[in-house]
Amino acid sequence: MASKHRHSHGDVPVVPDALSAEEAANLAFASDQTLTKHHFTEGEHPIVRIEHLNKSFDETKVLRDVNLDVWPGEVVVVLGPSGSGKSTMLRCINLLETPTAGHILIEDQEITGQSKTDVNKLRREVGMVFQSFNLFPHLTAKQNVMIGQTKVLKRSKEDAEAEAMKQLTAVGLADRADFKPPQLSGGQQQRVAIARAVAMHPNVLLFDEPTSALDPELVRGVLDVIRDLAENSGMTMIVVTHEMDFAREVADRVVFMEDGVVVEQGVPEKVFDHPENARTAEFLGSIG
């Protein structure tokens, strides 16, 4: 509703108000049972709720009424052709983009239309791994993993360092802790970036094509790290990727996007082996 007031220019879609937490939880509980392998219980609330999300860049409509609920601990893989709005959706979730209309709720908190400081607080809860790593090149791997902890979470240097070493060990880069990003391979950089995001202990971790910028031989190491997180960390993850085998393996749910809308979603076996939508089938056929 706040977005309606803020974006008065252009033809802003009119969307209903966000559902109440109970209402949304009940609806999602009913609809998502068959769509995900993730186990959730009645009365549980989705951790991320996307309702009627619309995003336009000037006249270009990039997201058109996207609706999606993600359960705590669920691993959602988003597929779709390039330009379908996958990145834009992820970026809306941590407000790197401001939605034009619609609602995003994290733990039933509406994130759209918040003050500056609240945005920063929200972003601690939502980690992001970028396609182009975006490590801080002037800091060592360890410092990259520490800086958010010390500056944002105000952890002590010792605690931050211990956590950094723990996460770097988890991604297999303890011995590269004092290297600066330019001295690391792309795969190593992306693993440091994952460690950096995980060290903040976010509730939700977003991956935007984490292996697309990597040389083929480096992809595997990064996927192994993400798979390990998906299977063992219990963290809620939304992963945009083109790695189909990986998607099939780790996803609790696969979401297929096309032209700014969620065209199809479901458990990986269903979407991959028996796609209902013609476009999904075509896309999977062309990729696989």
Binding site: N120, F130, S132, N134, P137
Partner: protein, 493 residues
């Protein structure tokens, strides 16, 4: 001349009164004497000091340097009716005859008379007792070797007195002044240069003598030194302010608020769009007109700081905007606020990127302090201009050039090194892990490896070209000339 005659006449009179009782005779003799003296000033009644000279020191060039052994030559003529038995010569405090030895020469007309004597030194005077009286009209020459003039330098006269055979003491005329150069290592060096044949040959070339006269180069260095300190002082004092101001205006110019942006744009464009020379004139002549009087050096610092800040603002803005958007997004995704993002992510990277350009700007500012000479700031240009005016030689300007270069050349080198380092780290080379030569490997093998590494280095440099070019583009406009616009890279708005 006339003064000397008068002096001689007075003495002659008094002398005569004592010797001849008849006043009339005395008067007539005096008249004759006056007439004679007018014609022959040399033949005096009392002992006269003809000359006193000091020989240049060994290796001392043409000058006499204080506190160094030299030879003082004193000549006097014994008065007509006198017989001199001793002479005392004195120099001002600081001179010393302590290790001197004295040679006596007495000439009667053209004949050398052999008269011995003993010289006794006591500090700044020497007393010579002759073995027999020196007859009237004789020329006495005392050559005192291994004596020293005072270290301070200045014009010194030899004074003293003499005793006649009848035991009377008389005062000697002061000699003409002897110019003594203060004894500094610099003077010693200059004097040494004066004495070198190759220096003479060098200076006989009109070009070399006019632009690179060694002696003047040396003295110029000494005289220009305070001016050089003023230049350095001004640029070093102004630069921290320029950096802070520049950063502030860079922030304003990238601000979201239109008014702040407009203020920054006005400030930057006005200062970059007018010559520093004009800005100096406006401030130095304008402020006193409205009753604001600021010390020249301080005002120089202010003007330079304000001027530099405009250039630095553009450099910083370009640097900040050259940091990829992904860096802001990564910082944001960690929950950093704008201030944290700026101070711990963006600015540290900006600093690395702008160091070459800022250094170039520093070089420019340092050179531009020369413009302050036009408003009376006693900096390098001012000193060298004055020195060139007094010597009529261009060498002081060359000395000034050297003073500028000893700062700028190393900095230019530093800029190059930093640019290379940045290019290398941007491309991902970084300091490579140390590779140890395999144990037991021959010298030859490890040398080959070195060469391999070296050639690999070369190809890396080639690979780094695009990155280096970006920085060259960013800094090039400053390297060549300060007032050239930043051009596409920096002004890409």
């Amino acid at each position: 001349m006339s003064h000397m005659h008068e002096n001689a006449m007075t003495r002659g009179e008094s002398h005569h009164t004592r010797c001849v009782p008849a006043l009339a005779l005395a008067l007539s003799v005096a008249l004759v004497l006056v007439a004679t003296l007018a014609l022959l000033p040399v033949s005096a009644l009392a002992m006269t000091t003809n000359k006193a000279t000091a020989r240049p020191n060994e290796d001392g060039g043409s000058g006499v340097i204080g506190a160094m052994d030299t030879r003082l030559t004193w000549e006097g003529t014994v008065g007509d009716d006198e017989e001199v038995s001793s002479i005392t010569l004195s120099l001002p405090e600081g001179a010393t005859f302590d290790h001197a030895s004295t040679r006596i020469t007495v000439l009667d007309g053209l004949n050398r008379t052999s008269i011995d004597g003993t010289a006794t030194s006591s500090g700044n005077s020497v007393d010579v007792q002759f073995s027999e009286g020196i007859p009237a009209g004789s020329l006495v020459r005392l050559e005192i070797t291994n004596m020293q003039f005072p270290a301070d330098g200045g014009d010194y006269v030899v004074s003293g007195g003499y005793t006649t055979a009848d035991g009377q003491s008389h005062v000697l005329d002061d000699s003409a002044a002897i110019t003594v150069i203060a004894n500094t290592p610099l003077q010693a060096a200059v004097s040494w240069l004066d004495a070198q044949p190759w220096v003479a040959a060098w200076n006989s070339n009109p070009f070399l003598g006019m632009f690179f006269k060694p002696q003047l180069l040396l003295t110029s260095f000494a005289s220009l030194f305070p001016g050089w300190l003023v230049c350095l002082g001004i640029v070093l004092a102004c630069y921290p302010f320029a950096i802070v101001l520049g950063l502030a205006f860079a922030m304003l110019k990238t601000s979201r608020h239109k008014v702040l942006r407009a203020i920054a744009i006005c400030y930057i464009n006005l200062l970059r769009g007018t010559p520093l020379f004009l800005q100096i004139y406006i401030m130095f002549f304008g402020l006193p007109m409205v009753g604001i009087n600021i010390d020249n050096n301080v005002l120089g610092v202010i003007v330079m700081a304000v001027n530099s800040s405009a250039y630095l603002a553009e450099i910083f803005r370009a640097g900040i905007q050259s940091i990829p958007q992904g860096q802001y997004e990564a910082a944001a995704s960690l929950g950093m606020n704008g201030f944290q993002t700026m101070t711990s992510i963006i600015l540290p990277q900006t600093v690395r990127r702008v160091i070459p350009t800022v250094t170039s700007d520093f070089i420019t500012s340092y050179k531009d302090t020369s413009l302050l000479s036009s408003v009376g700031v006693m900096e390098l240009m001012m000193f060298s201009k004055n020195l060139t005016t007094t010597t009529g030689n261009i060498t002081p300007y060359m000395a000034a050039a050297i003073y500028y270069l000893i700062v700028t050349l190393p900095l230019i080198k530093v800029v190059g090194i930093i640019e290379n380092n940045i290019a290398r780290s941007e491309r991902g080379g970084g300091p490579r892990p140390k590779r140890r030569a395999v144990a037991g490997a021959s010298q030859q093998a490890s040398k080959a490896e070195e060469e391999l590494t070296a050639s690999a280095e070369v190809s890396h440099v080639e690979a780094a070209k695009p990155a280096a070019d970006v920085f060259a583009a960013l800094s090039a406009p400053f390297v060549s000339h300060p007032t050239v616009d930043l051009g596409g890279v920096a002004d890409g708005e």
